[in-house]
Amino acid sequence: MSLVLKGVMQSPITPLKEDFSPDLATFEKMVDFHVRTGATAISWPHHKGESHNLTISERKAMAEVAIKTVNKRVPISIHVSALALEDTYELARHAQKSGADAIIAITPYFWKYPLESIYNHFVNLGTTFDMPLIAYNSPDYLDGIEFTAELTERLLEKLPNLIGMKDASFNSERFFEILRVALPMRPDFAMIAGVEYLLPSVCLGGKGSYSSAGAICPNLVNNLFAACESGNWKLARELQYKLSQLWHLFRDQYPSSLKGGMQIMGRNVGPTRAPLPTASPERIKHIEKTLAELGILDTEPHGW
């Protein structure tokens, strides 16, 4: 249970062939690219990796590829959230068996349920699988279903393997409340911003982030974390403002614009599965213009 999360961790895109089937060869390249460009950990498949649009057997097959490709160079966690909790357990069993270092799970989708149900679900998950567990909080997308500070406190009391939380609230009050109760109980507990909003989270005591833009501009995201870590806040602001522009560019029909942007960087990862659209040539042109304006084309790696 000694896994400590820190820095900019990457959650790879899921490359697809033109017929929308998983492109395993490119997936290996994608995972390897992230490890080589400084990811402190890998986690797959987040929503960025189109988790919802993959079958359970596809998720298992690709998880194996990811774990094998990472090959213990950095820790890897597998995202086990699914609409049906039976699938979540199946994915978690598979992740554990396949050698994942941790599992990550969101509050269950769709239903409106009391806090007690979140508590029971995470206690079950955390006690069934003897491995590090990362909680995933996304109140805006899940209509206010979220980890409160009180709930997090109870889970920390019960689960020694709850090592961190991915927080996609992007909100000072929510982020700081959880951190405020968690840190005194577990100093290594990692509050992780859902994407690289490192400037407002690291200053509050956050440990790092997952990444949206890392597939496009790993140098920029790594430099931002380094600036926050070293207290160079002026530089951090400048870099975060750039990344904010990229996030607003990519979050529209996420992750199809991101996949479109990767083409420009010479890392083609194919189309996006329905109901998400595949980025149109016009959209890609627009993205290219923004990347050029931000200086990304000249400062970031092209190709794999």
Binding site: E173, Y197, L199, C203, W233, R237, S244, Q245
Partner: protein, 303 residues
């Protein structure tokens, strides 16, 4: 336009005796806030029960604050209203009375589209002809947000738009708005409308509105001084206390804040209806919660 720097702004409560504004206590409050480090005063904010004050009282209260402050610190007039005409009248009055700036929320009750928000704010800025701050507080305003494109349109439309006071605490919005706005208008200011000063300052906020300063002014001053020097780590414990106060009085509202003030021996009476009379159990609860705030041990009691 003269450059106006927001800084650390306190939001005095509006004291009442027998339902009427207690101007004598208000005078004491103005002196207190200035002595305790306020760099500006916002009159009357929601904490000051602005929405429970008829227009004539709002004007009288603003005039009194400006007279009493007597140039020691600038006074910012809150001219938020449901009707644009009434807000414009308040804005004109603010200018005539000698306010240094105005602030305005989206119109109450209505849920206007962006085009109407632009007209509303532009009319206020024009009438005030003073630095104008947009007050973005979606959770108080039926989730009506002042979005970045609205701010950008307003900057183009009026040179008086000076900044945005953010209560959303939404990093995606705060960073987008200050990054985009400052590219077009370099002196555009982001102001934190809540006590979460560390993350706000890191994102680029230079102003801070601190409604709980009536309870813990020295805490606010220390936190403000720390974040201005970018001593974010050192400010952690101060932020814990400030966040606790924010959440406590977000829960109990302006009436609860008056209880907090009274517990610090700064009695401003009860809040006006429809806010509840606070006594008995609630007072005990707030008193109990305040014992958890370490910083209060060194705060002054009384005026």
């Amino acid at each position: 336009m003269t450059k106006f720097h927001f800084g650390l702004v306190h939001a005095p409560l509006t004291p009442f005796v027998n339902g009427k504004i207690d101007f004598e206590t208000f005078d004491k409050a103005i002196d207190f806030h200035i002595a305790q480090g306020a760099e500006g005063l916002a009159i009357p904010t929601h904490a000051g029960e602005s929405v429970s004050l008829p227009v004539a009282e709002r004007k009288a209260l603003l005039e009194r604050a400006i007279t009493k402050a007597a140039g020691r610190v600038p006074v910012i007039a809150n001219v938020s209203e449901a009707g644009t005409g009434i807000a414009v009248d308040l804005a004109q009055h603010a200018k005539a009375a000698g306010a240094a700036a105005v602030m305005a929320s989206v119109p109450y009750y209505w849920t206007p589209p962006d085009s109407m928000l632009i007209e509303h704010f532009a009319a206020i800025a024009e009438a005030a002809s003073l630095p104008t701050y947009l007050y973005n507080s979606p959770h108080e305003m039926n989730n009506v947000k002042i979005k970045t494109p609205v701010v950008m349109a307003l900057i183009t439309k009026s040179s008086h738009i000076a900044g945005l006071i953010d209560v959303s605490m939404d990093w995606q919005f705060m960073i987008e708005v200050i990054a985009d706005a400052s590219r077009v208008k370099p002196d555009f200011q982001l102001v934190a409308g809540t006590e979460y000063m560390i993350s706000a300052h890191a994102t680029g906020a230079t102003g801070f509105l601190a409604p709980t300063a009536i309870v813990a002014p020295q805490l606010m001053k220390k936190l403000y001084e720390h974040v201005c020097k970018e001593k974010y780590k050192e400010a952690h414990d101060l932020q814990v206390d400030a966040a606790f106060l924010y959440r406590l009085f977000d829960k109990h509202g302006a009436a609860g804040l008056k209880v907090g003030a009274k517990l610090m021996a700064r009695d401003c009476g009860q809040a006006r209806p429809p806010l509840p009379i606070m006594d008995g159990v609630v007072v005990d609860e707030i008193a109990h919660e305040l014992t958890k705030v370490k910083a209060l041990a060194t705060e002054k009691r009384g005026w």
